[in-house]
Symmetry: C2
């Protein structure tokens, strides 16, 4: 699919999914797109776990769902960072940005391959959900799940939400000129 | 260009640029791709300034350069966030992630349109460079430049740097299984 078509089609899908498992080969291609995202100093410290085991999936589905997508996904991809990221440039670390860039590549790949997903972040941070899922995938103590993507074949047609136009968020040479 | 081809071709380009200004229509299309990136609660709080004014460009070029790309760019795009982002979900704000997702969309669009760029972040944070550039574009006190992208037509052929393979950064169902 053409790049700009993928960008235009990608949207946060919170609806239900068809009862079909995403194919392993597609899940791998989605993660491969994430691996190709840039990272601070090309350190490539973010890591990924694809969850398609039905026992783990049922435990995630048993949590209070943020939306139908989280509840009905046939697979999840989690992006993992260090709890205390190493400084890699002048005292700064960039794992949060690295993780976000990788997730955006993955969301676009999800769209290009005919699946749908939604960036789930805040939901993980309450009621210890990130920690609970971390245990299910045997994450060591020094790592944390930053973002989870529920992935499936969309069962509903949801509109792409309205985005503010260029003139409200972007300018040439001078802010709000 | 096909989406997966764009993802494979995108790389952090730090070489020199041809002495040609990126076209306005292309710069706008790049920013439009950034505007279409997801944002926490679809708040769309990140903002962008395209810098192509030669007086501002010379002042950026006069700073100690991180690389040839920063020194020779025919235009820059900056991504702007709030210094104190509002909490939009359970006390959390997501502007850093929103900015990173938008920048990744823009870097892919840069590639799709035949330009090159590099994500510049840490460089802005030292010697007050983000503040100095903020003044040049009349940014209010409550906003800051988080990321700057130097944009141009690459004058050198640089290889895509090696990325670690899937098996070193991703697994199914169990971390490092």
């Amino acid at each position: 699919m053409d790049f700009f078509e993928v960008v235009a089609k990608r949207h946060s899908y919170r609806g239900g999914f068809k009862d079909l498992k995403p194919k392993d080969v597609d899940l791998i291609e989605i993660v491969e797109a994430g691996l190709k995202a840039p990272s601070g100093k090309n350190a490539q410290t973010t890591e990924f776990v694809i969850i398609d085991d039905s026992a783990i999936i049922s435990q995630i589905r048993a949590m209070p769902a943020a939306n139908k997508a989280i509840q009905q996904a046939g697979a999840y991809i989690v992006c993992i960072i260090d709890k205390n990221p190493e400084a890699i440039y002048e005292g700064f670390s960039f794992q949060l940005e690295d993780c976000a860039a990788a997730v955006e590549n993955m969301l676009l790949a999800v769209t290009a391959l005919g699946y749908a997903s939604v960036w789930v972040d805040g939901w993980l941070r309450v009621e210890g959900r990130a920690d609970k899922i971390a245990k299910l995938i045997h994450l060591p103590e020094n790592k944390k799940i930053q973002i989870i993507l529920p992935i499936g074949i969309p069962a509903e047609i949801m509109g792409v939400p309205r985005k503010k136009p260029f003139a409200e968020r972007a300018w040439f040479n001078s802010f709000k000129s």
